[in-house]
């Protein structure tokens, strides 16, 4: 109740001086919410900024891959976090079909790769180098993998090419695919109790950094073409013999019709730009401080006026 009234007053107050050139439609702007905290808070932050701009905003929970089809159809208006690694393929596929536009990158970069929680380093001090990891392979063995180490990769549909890399670099690891992000966390959580060494797929920015400090494994540095040309990278006969790019993009995307229907909101969306520390802070408010996402967004906006004030028209 309270939240609604404040938002409403904020909305009306902001609307008053703007009404002269507020050509935005009264229809609500639909913002998608996925199932990880930084995205939820960021979407709420953007939603509240747009409400200050006088737009009506609604949130809808969607799958993070299926959302691109919804954006294309205009059912969802925008998407705040398009990760190069995780959603690049879905995004590009939707771009090809038409209906979705690229609204520019955040300053924040994304990284996805093999990762281990800090306690692993006690057992295998040579880390983060991948050769050192390979020498410790036996530490990561499980009942099923025999004397080879187990690397827990992301779900198969994330297309992380863990298997190809193990083969290309001749590593003593067996790749097992988790079925969901939750499954990855459960494995790390189980390993945490007795500080069992573990190496899993992970990415940044996300909440895990705050809960389990850790590092990415340093593979041979990414070179363009490593996924297309066997000659690139240390193994001349294999693809995927490099680590993933350490600075993948994080884009904003919008429905094609947004610019016409809500020009002023679209203008703000173009200016919106978050950095890694800002995103980490948003995630922390929910994951560590246990705030509800809407409340976390309010807190973040209050504390960071300098960041977003200039984005408003």
């Amino acid at each position: 109740m309270n939240k609604f009234t404040t938002a409403l007053t904020a909305g009306t107050l902001a609307l008053a001086p703007l009404s002269a050139f507020a050509a935005d439609s009264d229809d609500p702007i639909v913002i998608p919410i996925h199932n990880w905290s930084s995205q939820i808070v960021m979407s709420n932050v953007v939603g509240q900024i747009l409400e200050m701009n006088g737009n009506a905003v609604e949130y809808v929970t969607t799958d993070s891959q299926a959302v691109y089809e919804s954006v294309r159809l205009g059912d969802v208006t925008l998407e705040m976090e398009v990760w190069e690694g995780a959603f690049g393929a879905s995004f590009r596929a939707a771009m090809e079909k038409g209906g979705i536009v690229d609204v520019g990158d955040h300053d924040a970069v994304t990284r996805e790769d093999w990762w281990y929680p800090m306690w692993t380093k006690d057992a295998c001090p040579g880390l983060p180098s991948w050769e050192a990891l390979n020498d410790c392979a036996a530490l990561f063995a499980t009942a099923e993998t025999g004397d080879k180490g187990r690397y827990l990769d992301g779900p198969v549909d994330w297309l992380k090419h863990g298997q190809e890399r193990v083969e290309a670099l001749g590593m003593d690891f067996v790749v097992v695919n988790a079925g969901s992000a939750a499954a990855l966390w459960a494995e790390i959580g189980a390993a945490e109790a007795d500080k069992r060494p573990i190496v899993v797929f992970n990415w940044t920015p996300n909440f895990a950094e705050a809960v389990w400090p850790g590092e990415f494994v340093e593979f041979p540095e990414w070179v363009d073409g490593c996924d297309k040309d066997p000659a690139v990278g240390p193994n001349p006969d294999a693809l995927y013999d490099c680590g993933n790019p350490a600075n993948g993009y994080m884009k904003k995307a919008a429905w094609e019709g947004m610019e016409e229907k809500w020009p002023s909101a679209y203008d703000i969306l173009e200016k919106i730009n978050f950095t890694n520390p800002q995103i980490a802070e948003m995630a922390k408010l929910v994951d560590i401080d246990e705030l509800e996402p809407e409340e976390a967004a309010e807190v973040w906006l209050e504390a960071n006026e300098g960041v977003w004030k200039s984005w408003l028209n």
Binding site: M1, N2, F4, L8, V30, P32, I33, N35, W36, S37, I40, Y59, V60, T61, T62, D63, Q65, A66, V67, E69, S70, L73, D75, V76, S90, A93, T142, A143, E144, L152, P155, V156, D157, V176, N177, A178, G179, S180, A181, A182, A183, W185, A186, E187, G189, A190, A193, D194, F207, V211, V286, D287, E290, L291, E292, E295
Partner: protein, 658 residues
């Protein structure tokens, strides 16, 4: 192939079912042995890629044609707008979404009061306590708003399923051709994995509560149709005669004679609709259904075991409350008052409910806590529960047990079993399934089995289908090993039967997602975790039907056994179990259906089966592939369903139980 020609004579009628089944098995064994010694040509082991028709792209073309060229999308999008209006309306009432009629949200205290009054009206103090208690728990634990988001969609989806199901049920009862057309569709619908409902729902009905409501409705319709038809068919001729004699028109007959007489079955259908709708709460969160499910997925995504556990409890409480209330409604007979009873007395409960509702609404204007439990005022114990669960998973003997199970069950039993199933040549496997159907049910079921499994082979997803089947078979076998003894023990006394049945109810409504994480923490991302999560679910019907079967053995029979001096074990083995067996078979069948349902969810742990591929199609717009995969699961489940149900029906007839 030579084996087949020598053992299969031209006229199979002269052989018994068992002999033919045996012949099938023999051929299958020969083929498998040939495969093991390396003499089987590759094309006999697996269908060559080249002859596998591309069903997916054909289906895609058909879908696109129907969707765009025939204008189905335009039609459904038009319907979506109407549905959205309804959903917005209920959303405003339940949690105050800013839409017409702008009067919500209802204070939680007022809702709790109304729930108590309804509970009291239907079933006395116990239900009043359950109704009110559930609402108070939900509010105090800080989940009021998300729970109401869920309820606002269910409040539209469940009645919609009721109306559609009732109409179709009446149509199927009235016109034989509708019945004939609807039956196979219903069978497929009931075995189709839910992921197959989700994608079309999104495409045709827009991501969000609308798609969630549509998927829920479709999922909940089948039992309503079946129960309506069943109830109407059972109306006794005397009642019909009486209606005709009093000169009823056709419409009056339906309204005043048939439907009131079929009241019990129809209300059982309502109960089923409610329970299935609640089962979809978490699953529809994947397509934008707001509320408890979405929150649960978000909590799981950030490893908050305690909070997700609390949400699970809320869902169970809501389900138990609605289940008990609707069951009480089934039993409660309409009240009749003497002529001249004052109006207020006839409607005393309605007035009480209304009075309390208005009272609490007014009171909450003065005391905000009674309207909404604010931030930080709730009593959630998320962090404490987190630590409790983690501490439990970290106890030495728990870890030792699971470690042993993981090493033994997975490495020694499950993985070899899976590899064996994968090594069986496709034709041999199809023959084995057909032999199973032949031996248990008969020729018709065997032909179905042959056709269905051949279609699965033709779909090109054979290996994944076999892995799916492997999970189902392993989980159901293990569930039988645990569930049957529990059922047999519990059936000895009424008290224990009731207790175990309550546990079954709870286990069935507790969202399966919640125990996926503990399963992984216990067993790692292995087949054991997958099987474990299916097993928990599949054990429920096995135990339930064992108890019901054993407790319904006619008393004359057990007494006769006692008189002839049978020992307890003898009585169980030679009298009770044989008579309960058909009922237990129904439980076994349901366990298999549940297992097919859960195995798809288990893809979230990490599997290599059809569920994993299905989950993958959700990401894109692969409607064709999504449908092919769904049908594969459905065909396999249907084969077992048809066979076991036929067997149970035959057995019941033989025992003279029906």
């Amino acid at each position: 192939m030579t084996a087949a020609t020598t053992t299969l004579p031209s006229s199979p009628r002269s052989f018994s079912n068992a002999q033919i089944a045996l012949a099938f098995v023999a051929v299958a064994v020969v083929l498998t042995i040939l495969q093991y010694i390396g003499l089987l040509p590759a094309w006999m082991h697996r269908l060559p890629e080249a002859i596998i028709p591309n069903f997916a792209s054909v289906l895609d073309t058909v879908f696109n044609f129907v969707k765009d060229d025939l204008g189905l999308l335009a039609l459904t999008r038009f319907l979506t707008e109407g549905l959205e209006w309804l959903l917005d309306f209920s959303a405003n009432i339940f949690f105050g979404k800013r839409r017409f009629p702008n009067i919500g949200p209802i204070p939680w205290t007022a809702m709790a009061a109304v729930a108590s009054v309804i509970g009291y009206y239907l079933g006395g103090w116990r239900l009043a306590l359950l109704g009110g208690g559930t609402m108070v728990w939900t509010a105090l634990i800080g989940q009021w708003e998300i729970a109401m988001q869920t309820m606002s969609v269910l409040a539209i989806a469940a009645p919609l399923a009721f109306v559609i199901g009732l109409s179709l049920g009446i149509a199927a009862w009235k016109y034989a051709w509708v019945d004939k057309a609807i039956k196979p569709i219903l069978s497929v619908l009931q075995t189709l994995p839910f992921f197959t409902y989700l994608l079309p729902a999104v495409i045709f009905f827009k991501v969000g509560p609308t798609a969630g409501a549509v998927a829920t409705t479709i999922y909940a319709i089948p039992p309503m149709i079946l129960m309506t038809t069943l109830g109407l068919k059972k109306v006794s001729p005397e009642v019909v005669e009486a209606g005709k004699m009093s000169g009823c028109t056709k419409a009056q007959m339906l309204r005043h004679v048939y439907i009131p007489s079929a009241r019990t079955e129809i209300l059982v259908g309502v109960n089923q609709v409610i329970m299935l709708s609640l089962a979809m709460v978490v699953l529809t969160a994947f397509i934008g259904m707001p509320g408890l499910g979405a929150k649960l997925l978000a909590m799981m995504g950030s490893f908050k075991l305690g909070r997700s556990f609390e949400i699970g409890i809320t869902i169970v409480l809501l389900a138990v409350m609605l289940d008990r209330m609707s069951k009480a409604w089934v039993i409660k007979q309409p009240e009749h008052f003497e002529r001249g009873t004052p109006l207020w007395k006839k409607h005393s409960m309605l007035l009480l409910g209304l009075g309390l509702f208005i009272g609490f609404t007014l009171l909450s204007l003065v005391v905000p806590f009674l309207a909404e439990v604010g931030r930080g005022q709730d009593f959630s114990q998320g962090k404490e529960l987190d630590n409790l669960i983690k501490a439990f998973l970290n106890i030495e003997w728990v870890k030792a047990t699971t470690g042993f199970l993981r090493a033994f069950l997975n490495v020694q039993v499950l993985i070899p079993f899976r590899n064996f199933m994968l090594s069986i040549p496709t034709p041999a496997f199809i023959l084995l399934v057909a032999a199973f159907a032949f031996a248990l049910a008969g020729r018709r079921e065997a032909i179905y089995a042959l056709v269905f499994f051949s279609l699965v082979a033709l779909s090109g997803w054979w290996d994944r289908a076999i892995i799916t089947l492997y999970s189902v078979i392993s989980a159901v076998s293990l569930a039988a090993l645990i569930g049957l003894p529990i059922g047999i023990l519990a059936s000895r006394s009424k008290k224990w039967s009731e207790r175990v049945l309550l546990v079954c109810d709870t286990a069935q409504t507790f969202p399966s997602f919640v125990y996926l994480i503990p399963a992984i923490m216990l067993f790692g991302i292995t087949d054991v975790a997958v099987i474990f999560s299916i097993l928990v679910f599949a054990m429920v019907p096995l135990t339930r039907y064992t108890i019901e079967g054993l407790r319904n053995v006619p008393e004359e029979m057990t007494e006769a056994a006692d008189m002839s001096g049978a020992k307890r074990f003898q009585k169980l083995w030679s009298v009770q179990l044989p008579i309960a067996l058909p009922t237990m078979a129904v439980g076994f069948n349901q366990a298999i259906m549940f297992a097919f349902f859960m195995v798809i969810i288990a893809a979230f742990i990490g599997t290599q089966d059809l569920g994993q591929e299905l989950q993958r199609t959700l990401a894109g717009t692969d409607l064709g592939k999504n449908f092919v995969l769904g049908i594969c699961v459905s065909l396999m489940a249907l084969t077992f369903d048809l066979t076991i149900m036929k067997w149970a029906a035959d057995k019941k007839r033989m025992l003279g139980l029906q």
